[in-house]
């Protein structure tokens, strides 16, 4: 056990956990966050994606010891039901979901991309999504929602 400090959605938390514990468990089990999810535990699908110091990161394969002191943003941290982020709003407007389990993967990956590259081309968006999975195959609507959010975020 050792003490790991993280700033999650603006609040500092200290965890007394095995430092090899993946970040996902600190977020979903210690803090009870519902955005990041366990999809594969292998970094293959994106369900666990959070933004660590500005970068989309697969929290299921990121040991806590590698992110000590980091700033973490989760799906909960980017908007609320009352005041959603443009991506969250776009996914509602496009009704871009079926089961909704992959939403965290898609929105957080897109957010990290659009934060650093607000005018990302269609090709760049596809590239960012190349290892993000949706098994309901809501691809048509999700890509439409990302494009809609890109327009809104570009202002």
């Amino acid at each position: 056990m050792s003490s790991i400090t993280l700033k999650v959605n603006g609040t500092t938390h200290t965890f007394d956990l095995d430092p090899s514990t993946p970040l996902l468990y600190a977020l979903s089990d210690e803090l009870g966050l519902r955005g990041p999810k366990f999809g594969c535990g292998l970094g293959e699908c994106g369900a666990c994606t959070v933004i660590v110091n500005g970068e989309a990161t697969r929290s299921c394969v990121t040991p806590l010891q590698l992110v000590h002191g980091a700033e973490i943003t989760t799906l909960e941290g980017i908007g609320t039901i009352e005041k959603p982020h443009p991506l969250q709003k776009a996914f509602i407007e496009e009704q871009a979901a079926q089961c909704g389990f992959c939403i965290n993967a898609v929105i957080m990956t897109a957010k990290a991309l659009l934060d650093t590259n607000p005018k990302a081309s269609d090709e760049e968006i596809r590239e960012a999504m190349s290892n993000v999975l949706c098994r309901c195959f809501t691809h048509v609507r999700m890509m439409r929602a990302i494009h809609r959010a890109r327009r809104e975020m570009a202002g």
């Binding site: 519902r34 366990f38 089961c99 909704g100 389990f101 960012a128 309901c136 195959f137 691809h139």
Partner: protein, 791 residues
């Protein structure tokens, strides 16, 4: 009284989210009224027909379940007028919760947002079996079950309003949650005043009048998914997010090979590991319980278990031959006109082809998860199962408890597309919780999910048909083999899935039967009969086509792997063969494949979707392959396929437009045009969503998905070894043509478009290149091999 008040049976077992939802729905207030001894008024005195035997469909009067013939089992109205509806059909990503809310809002004349829906919790919702098989619309939207209950409630409120306002019911209208006097908008009485917080105490009236589709204002218009704002902001409680006080975490240790059994478990190998609470062994079931999930995972990895060698698996390389040669078999004849051999002998041309379809998996995005709280002789299980009532029964067997003491509360999981690991993981959590006497959460590892789920069926299918001199089909014969082992556990067969089998329950036995008995009536639930056949059994032809010489024989054989329903089970595989072969016949006859289909289809609704899809895709009428084929570079083409799903549970046609790189063998689908007729459309946007998702999921399945194995174990165990289509692909355009039929019965929708895309893509590849693909998935190697075989 027909049912328990919700609070008395379920609130103690609810998570804070669920309890909050109930309270928002005004139910705590209702419960308070009842608790305070407010008289529950019986309205039977109004002269309302308290008729027993309402038309129920797929709903059971299960002991302990709210009685489906009682109105109060389906509808409750709070003092503030808000409506809560109870249903046995759950939300699994197919959008049925939205449509059911529309249905209740429409029939009761209340705003959509005033309806709260509670689904699939054994203490408080009726037993409607399993949410599967494209049966939710047929079950709850026609003149039965939830729809009929809502209509009964509206008619009752009209009568109560009539009494309250002192005006005949004919002068009243229900609107916005109140009964109004026509032409006197100010004179009204709200539902809450009429019955809020009280029971109806009536039977569901089979004669209550449904609102005709022509009067719909909520059904038939696009409705938004009510849970989506919470989902996109990370607030929604999936089953994965259920947390109970004192909850521990379990990790299962599955056998390393198919058929391996436990010889011994060295519990000492994990003693002293941080957080480990208990090693649980029950026959061949092994699991570890720990304080935290990562501790459980570490301990499960380290636990020393001695396993016997597996029983060995048939080589995958010639598995289809293995299937075909299995003895004994269980045989079923769907149709047999007895004259196929002579018709084929007299035909001008006879065509034969064999099609192959692999085992595929549900491969849910989130691995299956459940939380169980088993203490003493009571159990509460939070589960993403498709059937809470069947699961209650099989869990009771597994735990040795009385069914009455087991509660199953549905919580949404990741999309399942059929029997994924939801039931198995519910057993896992329950066994571990029972062993430690505390709540236990289990979420499977990716490998445990993929290696042990109930796979979708592999199929080998022989097609044979004859054409006359004019290019008309004169006879069609279909013979297929597919493997089965286990399936849904139902109410009493836990051995149908891995966990039940590991603890020693038997799977549903394989019962050989050959020769097949003569069919007694025409059924095409598995789409084993091509749409172009007449479907004649006895004196009646109930198929959708014109071909009267027909024979369809299906053999099931034992499977080395668990199998079970995967979206469009058997229907998709049979349709892949039929619709590809129809294209081969059209090409042989040198006729445009759309015109050739119409020539052999008699059923108007199926003809209409074919015409609609071809029209929207602007298919030029000509035979396939297209003229002037180029044999190198990228070739483009289009293909059509159609189906009367399950013979008559939804009608769809699709046109696929593809580009084939003839050097690499890579297929890219550019566009789908899907036409769909599901009777009256509840939620046009939800239906489009299903058509789009079905088309693309079907595309992923036919282009890349295949379960693989070596001589002892499954080897497709993650997203690197099981090949799906990620979001970064070149996403095809999908155009959906909705054919609304408001006066027909509602059919299923969710499994329609996925059924036809495999053949449509294969037919488009043929149109583009002249190469015929008969084995799924259409990998680059298979495409290249087919291109080489071209004349």
């Amino acid at each position: 009284m027909s049912r328990q008040a919700p609070h008395s049976t379920s609130l103690s077992g609810l998570t804070p989210d669920a309890q909050g939802a109930l309270e928002r729905a005004g139910l705590s207030r209702r419960a308070f009224l009842q608790g305070a001894g407010v008289l529950i008024v019986s309205f039977s005195a109004l002269g309302k027909a308290a008729t027993a035997g309402a038309q129920l469909f797929g709903a059971r009067s299960t002991p302990g379940a709210p009685s489906p013939d009682q109105l109060d089992s389906w509808i409750a109205i709070a003092a503030d007028g808000r409506v809560t509806a109870y249903t046995g059909k759950s939300e699994i990503g197919q959008g049925i919760s939205t449509a059911q809310m529309q249905l209740v809002a429409e029939e009761l004349c209340v705003p959509f947002d005033n309806v709260h829906l509670i689904y699939c919790e054994t203490p408080i919702t009726p037993d409607e079996g399993v949410t599967s098989g494209s049966q939710s619309h047929p079950t709850n939207f026609n003149h039965r079950n939830l729809a009929q209950a809502a209509a009964t409630a509206r008619e009752t409120l009209m009568q109560l309003g009539s009494r309250h306002l002192g005006v005949p019911a004919a002068s009243l209208v229900a609107r916005d949650g109140a009964i109004h006097i026509k032409n006197q908008p100010a004179k009204k009485v709200g539902y809450g005043t009429l019955i809020g917080g009280k029971h109806f105490d009536l039977h569901v009236d089979p004669h209550a009048k449904r609102k005709p589709a022509s009067e719909w204002t909520i059904l038939g218009t696009p409705a938004k998914q009510p849970d989506l704002p919470a989902i996109v902001t990370g607030q929604f409680e999936f089953v994965h997010n259920v947390r109970l006080p004192g909850m521990l975490h379990g990790e299962v240790v599955r056998p390393p090979e198919v058929g391996a059994t436990v010889i011994g478990v060295d519990e000492g190998s994990v003693s002293g590991m941080p957080g480990v609470v208990k090693v649980v062994v029950r026959k061949n079931f092994v699991g570890v319980v720990a304080q935290k999930p990562w501790q459980a995972i570490q301990a499960a990895k380290k636990l020393k278990v001695r396993w016997s060698p597996g029983k060995g698996l048939p080589p995958q390389a010639n598995y289809y031959e293995h299937l075909r040669n299995q003895k004994p078999t269980r045989d079923s004849l769907s149709v047999d006109s007895k004259d196929v051999p002579e018709k084929l002998a007299a035909a001008a041309t006879v065509l034969k082809a064999t099609y192959y379809y692999p085992y595929q998996m549900h491969g849910s995005m989130g691995t299956s998860c459940a939380v169980a709280d088993v203490r003493g002789n009571h159990a509460t299980i939070y589960s993403p199962t498709q059937g809470v009532w069947p699961l209650r029964g099989s869990l009771a067997m597994l735990l040795g408890l009385d069914q009455e003491n087991v509660k199953v509360l549905f919580r949404r999981g990741a999309g399942c597309y059929g029997l994924n690991g939801a039931d198995a993981v519910s057993y896992d959590a329950a066994i571990l919780s029972q062993a430690v006497g505390k709540p236990v959460r289990v979420q499977l590892s990716r490998k445990d999910e993929m290696a042990w789920e109930n796979f979708g069926y592999a199929f080998v299918m022989d097609e044979r048909a004859g054409l006359d001199a004019h290019g008309n089909i004169v006879a069609w014969e279909h013979e297929a083999w597919f493997p089965v082992h286990g399936s849904r556990p139902g109410y009493d067969t836990p051995g149908n899935v891995i966990t039940g089998a590991l603890v020693g329950f038997q799977s549903r036995p394989f019962e050989p039967r050959s020769p097949a008995p003569e069919p007694r009536r025409f059924e095409n639930h598995d789409n084993s009969v091509p749409s172009y056949c007449a479907g004649k059994v006895g004196d009646k032809s109930e198929g959708t086509g014109t071909i009267e010489s027909e024979r369809v024989l299906i053999h099931t054989v034992p499977s080395p792997f668990f199998t079970g329903p995967l979206r469009s089970p058997a229907r998709l595989q049979n349709t892949f063969a039929h619709e590809s072969f129809m294209d081969e016949l059209a090409a042989q006859a040198k006729v445009d494949p759309v015109a050739f289909r119409l020539r052999h289809l008699s059923f108007p609704r199926l003809r209409d979707v074919v015409t609609a899809a071809a029209g929207a895709a602007k298919c030029d009428a000509r035979p396939s392959p297209k003229p002037d084929l180029q044999k190198t570079g990228v070739a483009s083409g289009r293909g059509m396929a159609c189906v009367a799903y399950e013979g008559g549970n939804g009608y769809t046609a699709v046109v696929a437009e593809v580009a084939v790189d003839q050097d690499s063998g890579r297929i890219v689908v550019k566009r789908f045009v899907v036409s769909i007729d599901v009777g009256p459309i509840s939620n046009p946007d939800g239906l489009k969503n299903q058509m789009e998702g079905g088309a693309l999921q079907g595309m992923s399945r036919v282009l890349g998905e295949e379960v693989t194995w070596d001589d002892r174990k499954v080897t497709s165990i993650d997203w690197a070894t099981y090949h799906t289509q990620f979001l970064g692909i070149e996403v095809p355009q999908v155009d959906v043509v909705l054919l609304n039929r408001p006066d027909d019965a509602a059919t299923g929708a969710g499994e329609t478009s996925i059924t036809v895309v495999a053949a449509a893509i294969g037919n488009a590849v043929f149109d583009a290149t002249g190469a015929r693909l008969r084995e799924a998935p259409f990998t680059s190697d298979r495409v290249k091999a087919a291109l080489k075989l071209r004349a």
